[in-house]
Amino acid sequence: LGCHEISNETLLSNSATTGFPYPLPWSKLLENIYCVFNAVSIVLFDPFIKSLASARKRHGIHSQLAAFEPYIKDVTYISPSLPDIDMPMEIPSNVHLVGPILLPIQPLSRGDSDLIKWLQKGPTVLVNLGSFQEGTIDQAREMASGLHILFNSHPAVQVLWKFRAVEGSNADKEIEAILRHEIKSGRIRVQSWLHSEPLSLLQSGFIVAAVHHGGANSWFEATWYSTPFPLNLTV
């Protein structure tokens, strides 16, 4: 799980994914152990980590770097997850999976009446890979081609796609070339910014699927509104 926007966590989560299923099949056992020790090797041998560790030690800090000591038994932990939607695991009593931790949500009607009119036309797929995400031409082509297949197989479905092209990449033009008809007919809206909060959109009931980048906020928000979410981990 990463977060709503691209953050360091997104960088990491997309770099740390083994892609293996749970429970781990025996055929992947050795590879999985390799991946664990690969991570441990960073703690032990990486020059950046080592120089940070020695600077901390010189400064009288003798604990582990927080990332390498993610659980301490007498510290209280609070998370918006729930046991039923998380990995099956034993949860100690100092760890509180409390469910949604959200600010009050602004209803859509306050903002964008034009958007609401459009949403009412049909079931809508929201594609949002985070506010800081910038798409390359290759990503634009892949995703636009995927959406093209969706449009052909599901004639009623429309798409709201938050996409910001990498500057000077022509990624926008690639999308226009592939989805020319759908853009023209209004079946897809490609916007560099979502003017409404993703939560307001999910709450509106018009969104039938939310494609996101695996960020924790996106993950949980889609879950709270029972919105199916295919993941796109190419950010």
Binding site: S7, E9, A16, G19, L65, Y71
Partner: protein, 194 residues
Amino acid sequence: MNTRNSVLFLTNSEYGQSNVVLAVIHELLATDRLDIHVASWPVLESRIQALTSQRLEPKAKPGKNQIKFHPIPGVGMLDATFKNYTISIDSIPHKPGYAGGTRFRELAPKVLACWTPEEHVAMVDWFGDLAMTLKPDLVVVDPFLSPAHDMVKKLNWKYAVLSPCSLAAALIPEQPRLAVLWKYPWYVNLFGLS
């Protein structure tokens, strides 16, 4: 006489990290039982102030329901990563499993040690000074803000971790019979960060 307890939130300012902090503060303001302090980067300040103005009833007594914002010097987590290292967007996606190992070893330290050692220890000191000045009854830390963890551990301050994420990464290594190796795919949840 001030008998109110106080809480100090130390958080990154990115939306994904700070949304849960804002939501908790929103609730705390409603109960009006705590003095609330937030230390983060200045971009978060306007969102914090907006919470106060939403919550403040016209007849509220001055001085109540206030949040004190303390801007952290220097740059935030994501900006620090990009300032201190060269990371191209293209280098982030990688192959699954063994094949992705090398790239992962290149990328992970740049995120885990996003601040330079000098910046990191300076932040530990800054957080320490802030805690000594405010003497909060509880410090609530963002799981990603590693200098804040260093401070609360070094000064033995009472703290809790408020995470926007699943805690699977923190808990899987604690599962019995070394299940981290054979039962759980070593996946997105690395080092308790996601």
